[in-house]
Symmetry: C2
Subunit: 122 residues, 2 copies
DNA sequence: CGTTATATATCGGAAGCCGAGATATCATGG
DNA sequence: CCATGATATCTCGGCTTCCGATATATAACG
């Protein structure tokens, strides 16, 4: 699953949303760290629909503008859950490894030959 | 940062490794969930080097076979740390949203009629 | 009337992924 | 002796995905 797809699913996890709403929600939920582009969105939406992870929930007309709402399917919910698990595990692994690398730069069983990472790391 | 790049950095976080070793390490650290392909690896290695996140540490000849070791730079370490943070946050956000969606499928200001997610759908 | 915000969607270039193949050494097995 | 498999490097081409730019349309603000 791509990053974009993950964040779209996340934005839809609590309630159905329309395209433009997903765009804003992703930015907000990621605290501005992730900016889903318009050009990316619709391709992702199509793929997720084709994969059965989301479905068109309903269409509304708000102030003369069409809003097309999507929502997660059971399968989409499960896929997101599994992906979140993998991401958490990956993040956790990276964190503990960083700690290891900082704690023992020369723990490679090599006395000194190895200058260690970036010279002491600080 | 792409998934592939993230896992390469993670594999290098505790100690320098060579290409083939990274391949096995990524699979092991992700418990088989992530399989970095050979065709992907070298492109990632080149990009990470160009971006200054990793550097060629040393070259060794082991049993007649060349081993090219890479290691993280300070910048690479920081980038990995930041990315791990973002991933953890993303995973966490997804998790709590899933909980919200399950807890209140109709929390959309809809008493009960709302079949909500996966409820009635059909 | 022009710009900004909301809202949809498409197009094409660029970036990235990955199966397949090339090359080479060493060990195992037939 | 040769085939196979593991180790180890790297390249190529097709496919998927990303994203800037563009198009269309309504409403609000100046």
């Amino acid at each position: 699953m791509t990053q974009a797809a993950f964040f779209v699913l996340t934005a839809l996890a609590d309630q159905p949303r329309h395209g433009y709403g997903i765009l804003r929600e992703v930015e907000e939920v990621s605290d501005g760290a992730v900016q889903l582009r318009v050009g990316t969105l619709y391709g992702v939406l199509d793929r997720l629909t084709a994969d059965g992870l989301i479905v068109l929930d309903r269409e509304e007309v708000h102030e003369g503008r069409l809003r097309r709402y999507y929502r997660l399917t059971d399968e989409g919910m499960r896929a997101l859950d599994a992906e979140a698990e993998r991401m958490a595990a990956g993040a956790s692994a990276a964190k503990s490894r960083i700690a290891e690398g900082r704690k023992a730069p020369g723990a490679v069983a090599k006395p000194s030959a190895g200058p260690g990472l970036a010279g002491g790391v600080a």
